[in-house]
Each structure stands twice: as structure tokens, then as C-alpha cells.
């Protein structure tokens, strides 16, 4: 299973974290610091796997972002590598040529999308089309809610507060 997902920029800034096995805040910070140090310092032509604390970190760099997933030592590494790519393709399709800035300002969307790709550290949906449909439906629901909140009664409520 995937224990956690990390998106780190080349400068070591965290762009997304998702933990599927319990870690306290302290452990999370420590893990991120340790791993970003190890991964960012690796050269470009090395393999995409890193053995770490009895687990394996599978990572791949896309432009300025490193996508990392930590799996059990006996999990299939290439499979995980392609889960990363699958996730990237879905992001790409949603944002239209995704770049780091999209993920910074829309980090919440990245979380919605990740939740449609992974649950409990396992791959949930392998069809990009199907994920895209679900996300589009969610966006409609939220747009709908936004329209309601900008309705007259709400503006009055805000003003009289």
C-alpha cells in the first residue's frame, strides 16, 4: 500500500502531502525533511527508487516538481511509478498543461483529484475519463453553491453582521 504521497518543489517546498498510515505532526515534518534532502540531492540519471527505513520511496520529477510515493518494500515499484504518472496525466487534463503554479494556487483541487485516484493508499480508479467526469460533477456542485451564497440574502447577512 502507499503510505504517503508527497509533492515537493525543487526548492524543497511542500506542495501537497497526504498520509494513509498514521503519523503525528512531528513525524510528518521529520519525514518530509529527511526525504526531501535525500531525493532532491539525487542526480538525474539514477533510478526512481529509494530505500528508506525498510520502505521504498518511488519518485519522479516532472519539471520543477517531485512526485513521491512511499510504498512497502515488497510492492511493485514500476506499478507505483505509473500511478504517479497516471495522477500527473489526470492533473494535466484537468488544468490543461499543468504547471507548479496551478498546483500552488489550486492546491485544494489537487486534493480533490487525489482523493478520486487513491483511497486507503490503494489505486481507486484507473480510467482517466471516469475521474475527469467525477471531478467535473463536483465542480458543478460547488459552482452551484457559490451562486447561492452570492444571492441577495447572503449579501444582506454579511452586511448586517
Amino acid at each position: 500500500m502507499i503510505h504517503f504521497v508527497l509533492l515537493i518543489s525543487r526548492q524543497g517546498k511542500v506542495r501537497l502531502t497526504k498520509w494513509y498510515s498514521p503519523h503525528t505532526q512531528k513525524e510528518r515534518t521529520k519525514v518530509i525533511r529527511e526525504l526531501s534532502g535525500m531525493i532532491l540531492s539525487r542526480g538525474p540519471k539514477l533510478c526512481n527508487f529509494l530505500e528508506w527505513r525498510g520502505l521504498k520511496v518511488v519518485y519522479k520529477r516532472y519539471a520543477s516538481l517531485y512526485f513521491c510515493m512511499c510504498v512497502d518494500a515488497d510492492d511493485n515499484e514500476l506499478e507505483t511509478l505509473e500511478i504517479i504518472h497516471h495522477f500527473v496525466e489526470i492533473l494535466d487534463r484537468y488544468f490543461g498543461n499543468v504547471c507548479e503554479l496551478d498546483l500552488i494556487f489550486n492546491f485544494h483541487k489537487a486534493y480533490y483529484i487525489l482523493d478520486e485516484v487513491l483511497i486507503a493508499g490503494e489505486l481507486q480508479e484507473t480510467s482517466k475519463k471516469s475521474v475527469a467526469r467525477v471531478i467535473a460533477a463536483q465542480d458543478t456542485l460547488i459552482e452551484h453553491a457559490k451562486e447561492q451564497s452570492s444571492s441577495l440574502s447572503n449579501i444582506i447577512a454579511q452586511a448586517t453582521k
Binding site: 515534518t29 539514477l46 497516471h86 486534493y111 480508479e125 482517466k128 463536483q138 456542485l141 460547488i142
Partner: protein, 1031 residues
């Protein structure tokens, strides 16, 4: 930016991005946190938009690595909101911010359940996702049946069902009992017929976990899995959207093959055949293509197929096909494939008889040992380690040694250890082994643990023809500048024992050897000095006829250390000095070390124990453990005894414990080895001083036992004519420590012989710990030399949660752990399972939930057992689930108290008793005792200053009962008092009264249970009180 749709959030993110440095960012973030905090605190009517905005900001700040320790309630509260937009934010942020153990999650279980069983599909999805990502055990207990229903429902859409499958997987991981229902394997078979590949993928993930835990129960799934795999590999009937770069769902293929690997064997011939056909196709038809992703996906499938072929132990032809493939992979340039090739080759070694064909690739594997990528170097090292045998050991070990000089720090430790193990395991001849280890110490001394050089000593001692060779080698190494201290130790030892064999060679006269050794004293630590001192005395002894000049020089060294602050060094110096005056008589005492009995290498033993992961017992880790162990048990220095410095005793505290322990529990065994009379113990000590003393400096007992221990038994008694005990008793200089003072050191060696004593005793009286815990909520519950069980508890009304911290103090793993809790009838208790094994120096936590149903003073019992080595240990201790844990101080006014007091007329709701044998204590102390029992004292309520009036509330189930207590004391006789307890419940009144009695009476705790009054004592209360009145 426009997409974000929340201007405030975008502005904040830009601000943070525009910060020039970390300080500025910190200031901006703190400002925002303060803002959010005040908004949450002060403004009740935050709009939906604002709430969402703030919660997202919190997540962003949290992601940046700042602590966000507030606002969790607001976040969780959004889950209960009626609208999708709020609910979504609530669910997503909650599952990111909180982990499964967070209390707030428990608060929303009901809301989540309502969403799951509700009709709104989008809400169902949100709830299932959240539970799937952070659901803990409580969720598992309350939601599993509902999630199961969704998974097998015909009316739910695939979207909901695939989420339900993975959600159930999470719940199953938290509590495997959730699918222990009849017919669930049938359900799984039906689910494998699923048409929707998304659902099927999720179901397959669930099945992997189920089969991994219990393959027997899911045999009936095998045919369906094989059929699914056939369908996928043939690409029959696969919708376009489920192909990935033209490959039919590679993930589903991998998972299906994973499931099949968890079944022990597939015996049905037709199923096996079709499966092997599929695998054969994968092996033959996976080609290398240009597109990276397609290549990765197809190779993911290929490697999984390889693993399955190995697992099935297929025909020889197919296996050799696999080896050929792997051989191809380990020579490609693509690093991922090479890494996986090496990894799978190592796995293959474990399952199949392919060692010979793998050996053909040895040179290629050695090339990978020098790869720039550490991941690949590790795999290569592992593989070389695995494939090493007598035929290629020399070559491989020499390769490893050569690499050691250039290897980077990250891998050196593992490398050194593996080289040492291989050298020992497959040495073609022992002189080669000695060469290798000495080289190893020279090149990576920091990583060579004591066990490794003990082993060298072992072999050299037991092989006469090796001794001169080893001594010569040792001499050569000591000549070099900047020698590692471990080298000084081993060379010092070898030269002391065997340098006389070299005496005729140039540069090896006793004098010259002594000069070399003498030159090493300034730069080494005290344990090494002790070894060198012994070497000196041996050299002197072997120099026959005595060379006057040499004797003077050696004696000068002893004199130099006669006043050393280190007890061990001092003791040796003083003893040797005394012995050196004995002339020829010394020859017998200082005779060569006897041969060791054959024994398994500690190194190999540990390597086996640690599940093949040899790096676990690496030298640095060992050192760390030793440090820990001294830190853990440092105790008050033992009073200065004779010439011994107190520091030395407290330093060896850990060993001291063993010794104490053994002395308490099994003196007969220790005396079985050596009669315990002081003089004999001491005489023995003198004969074996060379080694075990050196060892006794190491706090870790095991090392000592393994190499040096047997000497205590095996060492031949020294010549009767010149018993050293006589010698010392008569002639020891006044500064020499008296024999009694040394005895602990020797006892220690003896006690340690029995590494796992037949009867492990707690370090203190268990009842005392229990008594402390009856008043406190955290502390030690139990401790013996191997295990410590600590306890931390939180109590709220009728509920409680205890966490048992089970820590392994030992340097080996504790195995066969079992724990069960026997709750008394009035408590409901539930505890998590303990793992079967605790690795050395590790701790596991076992949460236990407690709920109280009615009042009783009975406590739960923890039945705990483990094995250390092969010795099982069984512990039964009481858990402090006492009545007073469910009490809470109740503030009552005077009027209220009096009214209640009156209303509760007499027995059985109000009981009175004159308690005798009270531990005399001032009133203030008694009041303090009451407060610690959670019985609140109300000062001033009773006009009589010698009385205490108190009130408390007892919680059970959903009820809360007020209890009133009155104590009347007699200032002239503090050993008695009159105790009155009242509550609406007769049972509670009685139990509380007894509880207070237990705590005020002066009863030895262990026998307390027998003192518990039988119900008939209730009847006595009246007359006794009347009697007290008369007096």
C-alpha cells in the same frame, strides 16, 4: 489563479510566495493564524464562504510545515453542514489535518454514518473517502456493516462501490474481524464477476489484503482470478478507457497476480496450466519499447509475473527462462530495470535452485556494486551476499573489501558487516579469515563490532597452527601509524597470548613487542588499557629466563596504573604487580587461555534473529544500544567499597542489574558452575581475568557471555600449590581491593551465563506499582530485566482509555508475545492485539478501552506472556481499573449536602463503620488522600475540625450517582475513625466505603485482597458503631 475562486486564499498564497525568506514567511503565517483564530473565536456567524476560506488557509499553512493547533473543531464541524460545498471542505481538510487517533474524529462518527447510509450519493462518496483515508478502529466497529452493504448493493453506482471496497479495506486493516462473517468469501467470488474495471480494481486490492491474512478462506477465488488475468492479458473485452498506453489495465494485472502469490500453492492441474500459459505469454512477449510509460507499465506486469512464476515453483525450463531475463535486465543501462533485475535475482535465490546460473552473472553484479546510484549498490551488495558460497567467497569478499575503501558512508556499515559474516561463513581456510577481519578493522574499524573480533580470538585460540600466524599479522598492523582502537584491542590480545611463539623472529623479541604495546597506552580508552595491561603481564611471564630490564619496564607500567581512576585498570595493575613478585609461580596462573567450546557465532545468530536484515545488528547500532542501556538504568553509585571507585560500579549498572537479578532468583545455578565461596570465585576470577574483565566493561551482557562466558566454567582451576587466593589474601598490598569487592564482577560473568533465567522476576514488588497506579494515571505497571510495561490512562466519567507501553529492554527480540485482559463482570474492556514479536529496544503501545457498568472494587487482570530466547515468561498483574477512576469530585453546597445527607436515611443506602488500624496521619494528609481518590473534600462544611466531609460523583454506564462521605476522627487516637458513606445505591455505598477503608488502613498491600470484608461484614457495622459510641 482564476480557478481557485477564493480571492482571500489566493491573496494569502501570493503573499507567502512573495516572502523573501523564511522569517518573513513565518511572520506572514503567524499573522494569518492570529487572524483566523480571532475570527473563529469571536464571530459566531461566519459565512459559509469565510469558513471554507479559513479552513483551506489552515490546510495550506499546515502543509507549509507550521503547527496548526486550533480550528480543528471548526473543520470537523463543517462535516455536519448540510451543503455539499461545506461538507466537502470539511471532509477533505479533516482527513488531511487529523490522523486516525485524533479524538475529534470520534465525534463525527454518527454524522459520517448518516452520510454513508443516506440517500445522497455525493455525500456517500465524501464519507467513504474520508473513512477510507483516516478511519480508525472505532470507525471500523461502527461502520463496517454499512460499508459492506454498499459494496454488494445492486442499486449503487460503481463510483460508490469502488470507494466502499477500499473503505472496507481500510476498516479491515484496522480490525480484521469486520469481514469474519459467514459467506464473505462467496461474496468476494461474486464481486470478482464485476463488469466495471474500476470496481474490480478496488475489489482486487481488498482481496489482496484478505488473502494475505487468510488464504485458506478464499480458495474459491482462485479460478476467477486466473480467468480475470487471462481476459486482461488477451485484451478481450477491455474498454478503451481502461487501457494504459495500449496495455489493458496494468495495475489490475499486477494486483491479480499479487493475490495469486498469497495462496500457498495452486494444485488444480487445469487452473495451474492456464495460469502458467498466461505467465509464459507475459515472459515471452514483453518487449522493450521507446515510450517510457508503456515500457514501465509492461515491465511492472513482467516483474510481477516473474515473482508469480518463482512462487509457483514452475518447471525448470520456465525458471531458467526467468534467470535469462533477469540476467539481461542486470546488464541494461536503464537504472530502474537494472535495480529491479538485481532485486528479483536476490529473491529468486531464496526460492529456487538457480544459484549456479546466477553465478554466471557475478562479474556483471560486481560492476553494479560500483554504480553511482546507492539504491543499485545496495541491491548489488544484497545479491552478492545472498549468492556467496564456498566456491566464490574469496572472490566476493575481496571485492567487498576493495570497495570498502572507496564506499561512501551510507553503505559502509552494511558492507563491513556483510563481509565479516561471509568471511566467517565460507572461509576456505582460517588464516584467510583472520586476514579478512584484520583488513576489515583496518579499513572500517568504526563499523566492526566487538563480536567480530571476539570471534577472531575464538578461532585463533582454538587452532594451534593459526596462533603464530595471527600474532605475526597483529604485530605487522600495530607497527603502522594511526591504528584503529579495535585493532589495538585484538592485536594486544593476540600478542599477549601468542607473541612468545614469534620470539625468534627479527623484531619480535619480548622486549620489542612490549615496546610496541607500551607505545599504545596513551592513545586508547580504558577498556583497551585493561587488555594491554594483561598483554604486558603475559609477555613478561613468557620471557624465560626473566629479563631483568623487561621486568622493570613492565612493573613500571603497572605502577603507573596502580592509582588509575578506573577500577578495572587499577585492579589489574595492582593484581599483576602482586603476581609479578611471585616469580615462577606466576607461570601457572598466567598460562595460555584454554580452548573455547564450539559455539555458534554471535554474529550469525543475530543475523538470523533479525530476519536476514544483517544491517540491524550493525556496530553503530549496537553501540547506540549500549549507550541507551546505561542511560536507562543508571542508579545510585554503590558505596565506595575497598579500593573500588564508585563510578565503575554505577557505570556497569546494566550488568549490575542482571547480576542482582540472578543473585535473587537463582543462586543455586550460579553455584552449580562455580562454588560461591569467595576465595574460589576469586581464584577463578584471576585465571580468567584476561578476557571477561575486558568484557565486563561492556554493559551489554550478551557479547560477554558469548565469547567470554564459558571461561567461567571451562577455565581449569589454577595450580593447587599456588592458589592465587592464598597469595592475595596474604600478600596483597593494602590498596588491593578485598576479594569481596571484586566478587560482583565475577558473579556477573557467572550470572550472565544463563542468559534467559528459568524464572524471570519483576524488579520490584508488583503490588507496589499497582498501589502507585491506583492513585496516579501514569507509571510503571510491571518491569523485569527484559520487559517494561508502562501505563498511561485517561478517565472521563464512566469511560476510560489506558495505553500499555510494552518495551523490550533486552538486546534480543522478545517473541511469542501474548496478552489478554480478563475484565471483572462490572467492566467492559476492549484491547488491541499485541504483535507477536518486539524487536530489541523497541516499544509497542496497546490501547485498552474501559467502560464501567456498576460499582465494584474488583480489578481487571492482565495476563501477559513472552519468550526470551527459548524461555517462556508468564506475568499476571492487576490493572488499576479501580472504582475511584470512575469518580469525579463533586462540588456541593452546605445546604445541599445536609439535605441529601438527611434524605439518605440509614442502611443500606447509608453505612457507618468504625475503622480500626488506621494508618495514623494528620487530617490534612487524609484530606489529600481523599482528593487523590477523586473524592472531593468540602472544608468548613462540618463544624468539628476533626471531621472531614466529602462528596464525589460516581459514573457508570450513563448514570451519575452522588456519594457523600463523612469521616470523624479522634485526635487522641489516630488509629481509629468513624466512616460514614451515603449514596442512593446500596452497592455503591458499600463499595466506596470499602475502598476508602483499604486506603486508610495500614495493611500490607499484597495481603489486601484477603482483607476485603465479606458481605456479612455489613451486618456488623451497626453493632460495631454502637460499641464505638459506648467507648
Amino acid at each position: 489563479m482564476a480557478l481557485s475562486g477564493m480571492r482571500g486564499l489566493s491573496v494569502f498564497i501570493s503573499d507567502v510566495r512573495n516572502c523573501q525568506n523564511k522569517e518573513q514567511e513565518g511572520v506572514r503565517v503567524d499573522k494569518e493564524l492570529a487572524n483566523i483564530r480571532t475570527r473563529f473565536k469571536n464571530e459566531k456567524g461566519l459565512s459559509v464562504y469565510e469558513k471554507k476560506k479559513y479552513v483551506w488557509k489552515m490546510l495550506y499553512i499546515y502543509m507549509l510545515g507550521y503547527d496548526v493547533d486550533f480550528g480543528h473543531m471548526e473543520t470537523v464541524a463543517l462535516i455536519s453542514a448540510p451543503k455539499y460545498a461545506e461538507k466537502q471542505v470539511g471532509y477533505i481538510v479533516t482527513s488531511c489535518l487529523l490522523n486516525e487517533n485524533h479524538d475529534f474524529l470520534r465525534l463525527v462518527i454518527n454524522t459520517v454514518r448518516n452520510d454513508i447510509i443516506g440517500r445522497n450519493e455525493t455525500f456517500q462518496c465524501l464519507a467513504l473517502t474520508m473513512v477510507g483515508n483516516v478511519g480508525g478502529r472505532e470507525f471500523s466497529e461502527s461502520l463496517a456493516p454499512d460499508v459492506q452493504k454498499l459494496l454488494i448493493s445492486n442499486s449503487c453506482r460503481p463510483l460508490v462501490r469502488k470507494k466502499a471496497a477500499l473503505c472496507l479495506l481500510r476498516l479491515y486493516r484496522k480490525n480484521p474481524d469486520v469481514v469474519n462473517i459467514d459467506g464473505w468469501s462467496e461474496r468476494m467470488v461474486q464481486l470478482l464477476d464485476e463488469r466495471d474495471l474500476g470496481v474490480l480494481t478496488a475489489v482486487m486490492s481488498l482481496l489482496v489484503a484478505l488473502v494475505a491474512n487468510n488464504p485458506e478462506a478464499y480458495w474459491n477465488c482462485v479460478p476467477k482470478c486466473v480467468r480475470t488475468l487471462e481476459r486482461l492479458t488477451r485484451g478481450h473485452d477491455i474498454p478503451q478507457e481502461y487501457t494504459y498506453y495500449g496495455i489493458p489495465s496494468p495495475w489490475l494485472q499486477v494486483k491479480t497476480m499479487r493475490v495469486l502469490q498469497y495462496f500457498p500453492a495452486i494444485d488444480d492441474p487445469s487452473i495451474r496450466k492456464s495460469l502458467l500459459d498466461v505467465l509464459q505469454r507475459i515472459l515471452l512477449h514483453t518487449d522493450v519499447v521507446k515510450n517510457v510509460n508503456k515500457n514501465n507499465a509492461s515491465h511492472a506486469v513482467l516483474f510481477e509475473a516473474l515473482a508469480l512464476v518463482m512462487h509457483l515453483d514452475a518447471e525448470k525450463e520456465m525458471m531458467s527462462q526467468c534467470v535469462v531475463l533477469l540476467g539481461k535486465f542486470i546488464s541494461v543501462r536503464e537504472p530502474n530495470i537494472r535495480y529491479l533485475g538485481l532485486e528479483n535475482m536476490t529473491r529468486m535465490l531464496l526460492v529456487a535452485d538457480v544459484a549456479e546460473s546466477i553465478k554466471k552473472h557475478q562479474s556483471q553484479i560486481i560492476i553494479s556494486l560500483k554504480d553511482p546510484d546507492i539504491s543499485i549498490r545496495r541491491r548489488s551488495l544484497d545479491l552478492l551476499y545472498g549468492m556467496c558460497d564456498v566456491s566464490n567467497a574469496k572472490e566476493i569478499v575481496e571485492e567487498l573489501l576493495q570497495y570498502l575503501t572507496t564506499a561512501d558512508f551510507g553503505i559502509r556499515e552494511e558492507l563491513a558487516l556483510k563481509a565479516a559474516i561471509l568471511a566467517e561463513k565460507f572461509a576456505p581456510d582460517l588464516s584467510w579469515y583472520v586476514d579478512v577481519i584484520l583488513q576489515l578493522i583496518e579499513k572500517a574499524g568504526d563499523f566492526v563490532s566487538d563480536e567480530i573480533w571476539y570471534r577472531v580470538v575464538f578461532f585463533v585460540t582454538n587452532n594451534d597452527d593459526l596462533q603464530a600466524y595471527a600474532a605475526e599479522k597483529a604485530r605487522g598492523y600495530l607497527d603502522k601509524p594511526a591504528v584503529h582502537e579495535t585493532m589495538v584491542k585484538v592485536a594486544g590480545y593476540l600478542l599477549g597470548e601468542y607473541s612468545h611463539l614469534l620470539a625468534r623472529r627479527p623484531g619480535c623479541s619480548p622486549k620489542e613487542i612490549f615496546h610496541i604495546i607500551n607505545g599504545k597506552f596513551p592513545g586508547v580508552t580504558t577498556p583497551t588499557k585493561a587488555i594491554l595491561l594483561s598483554a604486558c603481564v603475559k609477555i613478561m611471564m613468557h620471557c624465560q629466563p626473566p629479563n631483568k630490564e623487561l621486568v622493570e619496564q613492565v612493573v613500571a607500567v603497572f605502577k603507573r596504573y596502580e592509582c588509575s581512576v578506573d577500577a578495572e585498570v587499577q585492579q589489574r595493575a595492582v593484581e599483576f604487580l602482586a603476581l609479578s613478585r611471585k616469580g615462577l609461580a606466576m607461570v601457572d596462573i598466567m598460562a595460555e587461555m584454554p580452548k573455547f567450546p564450539e559455539r555458534q557465532s554471535a554474529l550469525l545468530k543475530k543475523a538470523e534473529d533479525t530476519d536476514g536484515d544483517a544491517a540491524e545488528i550493525s556496530a553503530t547500532k549496537m553501540r547506540l544500544q549500549q549507550q541507551n542501556s546505561t542511560a536507562l538504568v543508571v542508579r545510585d553509585p554503590v558505596p565506595n567499597n575497598g579500593g573500588l571507585h564508585p563510578l565503575s560500579l554505577s557505570k556497569a549498572a546494566d550488568s549490575g542489574r542482571h547480576q542482582e537479578q540472578a543473585a535473587e532468583s537463582e543462586p543455586p545455578q550460579a553455584s552449580g558452575a562455580v562454588p560461591p565461596s569467595e576465595s574460589q570465585v576469586y581464584s577463578n576470577g584471576t585465571t580468567l581475568q584476561q578476557a571477561p574483565r575486558a568484557g565486563s566493561r561492556e554493559p551489554s551482557g550478551d557479547l560477554l557471555v558469548d565469547l567470554m562466558g564459558p571461561l567461567a566454567i571451562e577455565a581449569p582451576p589454577s595450580a593447587a600449590s599456588t592458589s592465587p587466593s592464598d597469595l592475595l589474601a596474604l600478600e596483597a598490598p593494602p590498596s588491593a581491593p578485598p576479594a569481596a569487592a571484586i566478587a560482583p564482577g565475577d558473579n556477573l560473568a557467572l550470572a550472565l551465563l544463563d542468559e534467559a533465567p528459568t524464572q524471570v522476576q519483576p524488579l520490584r514488588n508488583v503490588a507496589e506499582w499497582f498501589k502507585e497506579l491506583s492513585m496516579k494515571d501514569s507509571g510503571v505497571l510491571y518491569e523485569d530485566p527484559y520487559v517494561q510495561i508502562g501505563l498511561k490512562a485517561e478517565w472521563r466519567n464512566a469511560q476510560g482509555r489506558m495505553v500499555l507501553f510494552v518495551g523490550n529492554k533486552h538486546t534480543g527480540p522478545l517473541t511469542n508475545l501474548r496478552s489478554s485482559i480478563l475484565p471483572p463482570p462490572h467492566l467492559r474492556m476492549q484491547s488491541a492485539a499485541v504483535p507477536n514479536t518486539i524487536p530489541p529496544r523497541a516499544q509497542v503501545q496497546v490501547p485498552v478501552d474501559v467502560a464501567c457498568i456498576r460499582a465494584s472494587r474488583e480489578t481487571a487482570v492482565l495476563d501477559f506472556s513472552y519468550s526470551v530466547g527459548h524461555t517462556p515468561v508468564n506475568i499476571t498483574v492487576r490493572l488499576p481499573t479501580l472504582l475511584n477512576k470512575f469518580l469525579q469530585v463533586a462540588p456541593v453546597s452546605a445546604n445541599e449536602f445536609v439535605a441529601r445527607w438527611r434524605a439518605l436515611g440509614g442502611p443500606p443506602t447509608k453505612l457507618q463503620e468504625v475503622v480500626r488500624g488506621v494508618r495514623p496521619m494528620p487530617l490534612a494528609q487524609m484530606a489529600d488522600l481523599f482528593i487523590r481518590l477523586h473524592v472531593g473534600v468540602a472544608p468548613g462544611l462540618d463544624p468539628n475540625v476533626n471531621n472531614i466531609v466529602a462528596a464525589t460523583t460516581f459514573y457508570s454506564g450513563t448514570a451519575a450517582t452522588l456519594c457523600l462521605v463523612r469521616v470523624e476522627t479522634d485526635p487522641s487516637d489516630r488509629t481509629q475513625m468513624r466512616l460514614t458513606v451515603a449514596s442512593e445505591e446500596p452497592n455503591l455505598t458499600y463499595e466506596l466505603k470499602e475502598l476508602i477503608k483499604e486506603h486508610v488502613m495500614d495493611i500490607p498491600f499484597a495481603s489486601q485482597r484477603t482483607q476485603v470484608a465479606t458481605p456479612s461484614a455489613m451486618g456488623l457495622t451497626g453493632p460495631a458503631a454502637a460499641l464505638a459510641g459506648l467507648i
